[in-house]
Structure formats: structure tokens, C-alpha cells
Symmetry: C2
Subunit: 148 residues, 2 copies
DNA sequence: TTAATTACAGATTATTTTGTCTTTAATTGA
DNA sequence: TCAATTAAAGACAAAATAATCTGTAATTAA
């Protein structure tokens, strides 16, 4: 079973969301994030490293180092995170997995699926971290008390 | 990078679509299908075996044996194929991959995503093989001449 | 200056998914 | 009956993905 995003990407979304609810000038270590989100530490840091390359998050080495959002949450669109981690391939691919299908002979699914795909893309480009901040805050707050 | 469906499932869709464009009383061997769709033979037969369990396709062993659609194309909904191969988990899962999220405190994505997911589900339940037959026919016909 | 802490980079391992191979049982035509 | 053909079943191999580990360089506090 697969989903739209890879696990890596889901994790990245969570981690960045977590960064967004913290004060802007605070450095969060991978360890802190992993502890709070209950996710593998090294995986976190690897993913965040990737995101530093694209300038979405910043990092500082050393004793008080850690990660932080490099931009204002309102400047970070979800699609940017997806793109960095997974790429945008999903949004181009055929549902049926047919090779070499050209859209001049589209099957009935093509239009419907294409539309949904575009909607998903639109959703991810429209939403910024700022819009998710509030509910993410509650959500991550709850996380500690969740059994699963 | 992952997509909505697993490769197995894509392949199943293609194989079943292929069966649907053949005369009802014709047995198609896994080898024939694999040859025509240019896909691994054993994978095909494995997937079709799965689909025989759910009664979507039928099979016959022996010299003139092979696979065939057990129902009329208009009776086979795409979702049934997806369900047998991948299950319906995708349509229940959270985009962000948060564990233990309850819908009483939905993040802004939840509704949007939920809607898209439902649309996808609806699309797959509404479409039957019959509706895809015609264009699949052309599509598979072209397949042989495609470079990739 | 030194010890501690942290991101960083890359190797390594584990797990899952995908694909192949081998063997068996059923069916048919010769 | 017998040889050929095929699905079925499941072991096996390869590849992709996820997760861990190890060592290094940067930074800071003492
Ligand atoms: S026309 Fe159908 S088969 Fe071709 S790319 Fe679109 S969805 Fe896929
Ligand atoms: S509310 Fe948000 S985090 Fe929770 S299940 Fe829905 S999409 Fe996922």
C-alpha cells in the first residue's frame, strides 16, 4: 500500500510544522524534535538537512545549534516541502501506469484523475505553514498523550 | 516517490483492462498478457491469481487454460481491483501521517484532503471496466509501437 | 584551550516492495 | 495413457525505501 507522499515527506511535513510553532529565534535540535514527535532522530536530521539545502529551514552547528525555519511560515508553501523531499513526479504520472501514454487519446479516467491531481497540487501550493500552525500546535500538544 | 497505487495495482488495472477488450469466452494465458503488455509474466499471473480469489477474474488450468473476466465489464468497478490488490487504507489515512489524529480537531488540510480523497474514491467506484474498454483498446493497440 | 554538543556526511543495516524461479496439480489433445 | 501446457503456490532474489550507526567539522560554554 502506498500513499501520495513518502514517509520521508510526511515526516518532513511534521517536522517543519513543529518548527513553525516554535519562537522564530529558537534553535531546535534534531533530538528534541524526534523526542517530541516520537520519530527516529537520524531520519529527522537527514530530512531537515535536505530542507536546508533548499533554504526552507536553517541550521546551526555546535553546542546551542539546531534547526529553525529560514523563512516566515507564511512564505513556506507545503508544495515546496513535497518538492524537496519527493519531487513533483506524482503530479505528472498516469494513474494506470501505462507507459508512453499521450494525452491526445485520453482514457476517461485521464480527465477526472488529472483534475483531482491538479486540485491536490493546488491545495499544496495554496497552503502555507502559517495556515496550519494553529491546529498543528494543538495536534502536537496532544501527541504526547496519544497511545498510538 | 510513491503514487496512489502500488505498482502491483497499476499492473492489475492494465491486465484486467486487457482482458476486458478480448472476447468473453477467450482464455488468455499470463504469458500472452505479459507479452502484449510488456510486463513481467510471473508478476501478472500472481496478480491475476489474487483477482481470481475475489471473483473478478476466472481461470482455467491446463493446455488451453488461462484467465478471463468472471463478470461483465460493466459489473467490475475499478475500486474492486484496487481493493483486492492494495486494500482501501489510502482512503482512510491522514496526509500528514500524524498518528492518532481524531477528526474533532481537524487541521485545515483535513477537509480539503478528505474531499479530494473522497472524489478519488468516488471516481474509482463509479467507473467500471466497460467505460474504459474503448480507449483501452486503442491504448493497448498503440503499446506495441511505443518506444517507451 | 578544552570538553561538550550539534549538524553534517556517508556507510551500513533492516524492512518492504518488486520481480523471478521452481515445483506441483489440473487439463487437454494426441 | 502420455506428453504438453497452464494456473497455483510458495520459495527465492533483487531493488527500493526506511532507519541506524559512525565518524568529522563547527560552535559554544566553561
Ligand atoms: S489517458 Fe488514461 S492511460 Fe493515458 S495517461 Fe491519462 S489516465 Fe493514463
Ligand atoms: S486533521 Fe490534519 S493531521 Fe489530522 S488526520 Fe486530518 S489531515 Fe491529518
Amino acid at each position: 500500500m502506498t500513499v501520495i507522499f513518502s514517509k520521508k515527506c510526511e515526516l518532513a511535513l511534521q517536522a517543519v510544522l513543529f518548527l513553525s510553532i516554535k519562537p522564530k529565534d529558537e534553535f531546535l535540535s534534531a533530538r528534541d524534535i524526534s523526542k517530541e514527535l516520537q520519530l527516529p532522530k537520524e531520519f529527522i536530521s537527514k530530512v531537515l538537512q535536505k530542507l536546508t539545502e533548499t533554504g526552507i529551514v536553517g541550521s546551526k552547528k555546535g553546542k546551542t545549534g539546531g534547526f529553525f525555519l529560514a523563512k516566515d511560515p507564511s512564505e513556506i508553501r507545503l508544495i515546496q516541502i513535497v518538492e524537496t523531499i519527493d519531487g513533483l513526479g506524482v503530479f505528472e504520472k498516469c494513474v494506470l501506469g501505462f507507459p508512453g501514454c499521450s494525452p491526445d487519446n485520453p482514457c476517461p479516467l485521464h480527465n477526472k484523475w488529472g483534475h483531482l491531481r491538479d486540485e491536490a497540487f493546488k491545495m499544496l501550493t495554496e497552503f502555507t505553514l502559517a495556515e496550519l500552525k494553529d491546529s498543528a500546535e494543538k495536534k502536537i500538544g496532544n501527541l504526547k498523550f496519544d497511545i498510538l
